[in-house]
Symmetry: C2
């Protein structure tokens, strides 16, 4: 049953809309805020006054006036609030401190130590030490830090604050991460699917170029995604929406750890691609010194992509196939979601971006059914390799300062 | 830029929430409405009083009281409002008059006459005559009819009220259907993608079993879908979301009219399946008198499915392949959208439902990545073959009486 909305929540929503308009606006006045948000000038004035009192917004001077009243420019106060973001990746854990404007003010990277034999508790203690370290490094007062966001590989169980059977994190089984980490850091902790967090980060830190709905396709150790709609992030029934890595691209294809066959992730990750070279072009693999051994994937993937760029036919064949399947999955996503913007990011993107972006753009604009009605833009993530950690921090800032429609609702109502 | 929400719109939203709770509730009192919606009892009382004055809600008697104040049962007045729905299918046009409770009170079915040589204008005049006919048939006063909803094959351009290059409707090219039909019937006309309309119809007429988010998969002459989220129908950037027929299921597979290769629609419609039998099992096709001639598809599809049921190996092979691809696409949809309910419907479903529903249910519960966290229900549409026309009428009722979050917004704001 849907819930109605009572007035206090409407106030909170409008406050978030104003804050967002100031973030995206650049030298925006109260008059423009009223025009941009459709709110009355009285409502805008009241909300802005409170935001200034709380130190989240500052007046930055007078704007040229077109004859009427002088207008005061408003801007976000980046130092008004901070959040910590942790990207828990099987290879490395990146921890950042991000200010209210989305700028990284401190950063720590450690090897994750989540391989076989390490305990989840030890990992949590290391995470907590990283949180202390970025706050100390930035010299920010602890009370200005709103909380810690954690981006973890799915599937997750947000209701219980758990990482469920994380396929890339050996030794973790239904680990109650939110509870244990909150106990260590003594701050609120938020958990989300890593690629959903990245999509939130794109929205939060990507400026006005990310204010329309978009789908985010992540290419890293694994493949994932996130869906940002007009109303906010689409998390799905259980927080596991946007699993673009598990779009089936090859019927009866390669077995994926998820239990399905022929998933995008089973065919187009760096590991899958070096394996493809070994299995389908053994001679070329030996020539390029590519063995697909787990600990050599990163370097071998880079070598594979360089060889393809240089015209090696076997390497080019493997890259082309992967690009074709990624473009095919993108067509499916655009036909299902009808978004006009597709953002690609992740650490495995750089090596193939020059061929992948044009191929995806051509596919979604030439082979989707509504192509007569709209053009789909395909863009690269603005956030670089720290997108996961920045996204995790954005979970905290986004939750605190940019609630979507759902937060207009009463919660806990049948 | 997101818009804020002003108070009159909040009122309209809460009114819709109350009306929806009464529709789903069955003998619900004001006290229960307050509990169900999270609204104050004062707000509930005010809204209910107005709904009674307008004739949309009636008091149906006293409910047993648990010691406190006596409670008055409230129910929808089905005769409070009506809407016409038209399903514009290439084979036949179905026109229905639906009351506020979602019950069909009159129905007309005509061959569409949209084949080669017929003009869109002539079709529009026939549609208008059908509208008059269902209203006369039901003996309903014209002023109680809120408007006409049209469900048409996509892609559509809702902003211009147009059916764009409808692949199954020869002779239609950017036809301004909304304007021409509204001119004929002199009522408001709403246009939507046919399968999105069906999903709205499931939500509207499907009772409390359809009050959670779901994806609707339609199997008819074509294959399509609709996405209903917690906030309302997901229409996408251009009203063309949910094109499940154009999920790619076979890389480099059969060419689809949409410009893509290997779409679900190119492999799993009745026409594609009889073509498969002819192409891959010529001898069996001749034995079963299946030629895949366009005007024989409906009968030959039924024959193909009966033969598969009876154990004919060639027919069973074709049906099994189609079921496998539909299950594969369902896995993709659940991984992307994270819904806990998948509803299947459409005129081609009946013949394969007994094998398809269990296969889809097994696939989405055994091969999706978040299967540890949730169970996905796979159900048959409650609406039968008129789902398109009922859905079209629901567009009107849904728009008028069940606005989603988006209608809380100011419109036309930059």
């Amino acid at each position: 049953m849907r819930s109605g909305t009572n007035l206090p929540r409407v106030g909170g929503y409008n406050r978030a809309v104003i804050l967002e308009a100031i973030r995206h606006g650049g030298d925006v006045s109260r008059v423009e805020l009223a025009r941009l948000t459709g709110l009355t000038s009285q409502t805008v004035s009241n909300i802005v006054r409170r935001l200034i009192t709380e130190g989240l917004v500052v007046e930055t001077g007078r704007l040229p006036s077109a004859g009427g009243k002088p207008r005061t420019a408003l801007a976000l106060n980046p130092h008004g609030a901070y959040a910590v973001g942790i990207h828990l990746d099987p290879d490395a854990t990146v921890t950042v401190l991000v200010d209210l404007a989305g700028t990284v003010v401190a950063r720590v990277r450690r090897r994750s130590g989540t391989g076989r034999g390490s305990s989840p508790r030890a990992t949590v203690r290391r995470l907590s030490a990283g949180v202390d370290q970025v706050i100390r490094q930035a010299g920010v007062p602890a009370e200005a830090v709103l909380g810690v966001g954690v981006a973890a590989p799915g599937p997750i169980d947000p209701a219980r604050g758990m990482v469920v059977e994380p396929p890339n994190l050996a030794g973790w089984h239904e680990e109650p991460l939110v509870t244990t980490l909150a106990g260590e850091v003594r701050m609120p902790v938020t958990l989300d699917n890593d690629t959903t967090a990245m999509a939130v980060g794109e929205r939060w830190a990507g400026g006005s170029a990310r204010s329309q709905p978009f789908a985010f396709l992540y290419l890293g150790t694994g493949i994932g995604g996130g869906i940002v709609l007009a109303d906010g992030v689409h998390r799905g029934a259980t927080g596991n929406a946007g699993e673009f890595g598990h779009v089936t691209v090859v019927p009866d294809g390669r077995a994926c750890y998820c239990g399905n066959l022929g998933c995008l992730e089973a065919h187009c990750t760096p590991r899958a691609m070096v394996t493809d070279l070994v299995e389908r072009h053994g001679r070329a693999a030996r020539r390029l010194d590519i063995s697909a051994a787990p600990n050599r994937v990163r370097a071998e993937y880079a070598r594979l992509c360089r060889a393809a760029d240089a015209g090696d036919p076997a390497a080019a064949d493997v890259v082309e196939r992967s690009v074709r399947l990624l473009a095919q999955a993108s067509v499916t996503l655009v036909n299902v979601l009808d978004v006009e913007l597709l953002v690609l990011g992740g650490s495995a993107l750089r090596q193939v971006a020059d061929v992948l972006l044009p191929a995806v753009s051509a596919a979604v604009n030439e082979r989707t059914i509504a192509r007569w009605v709209r053009t789909v833009s395909v863009e690269r993530s603005a956030l670089g390799d720290d997108v996961g950690a920045i996204g995790a921090a954005s979970l905290v800032l986004h939750g605190a300062y940019a609630p979507g429609w759902t937060q207009l609702l009463s919660s806990g109502v049948a």
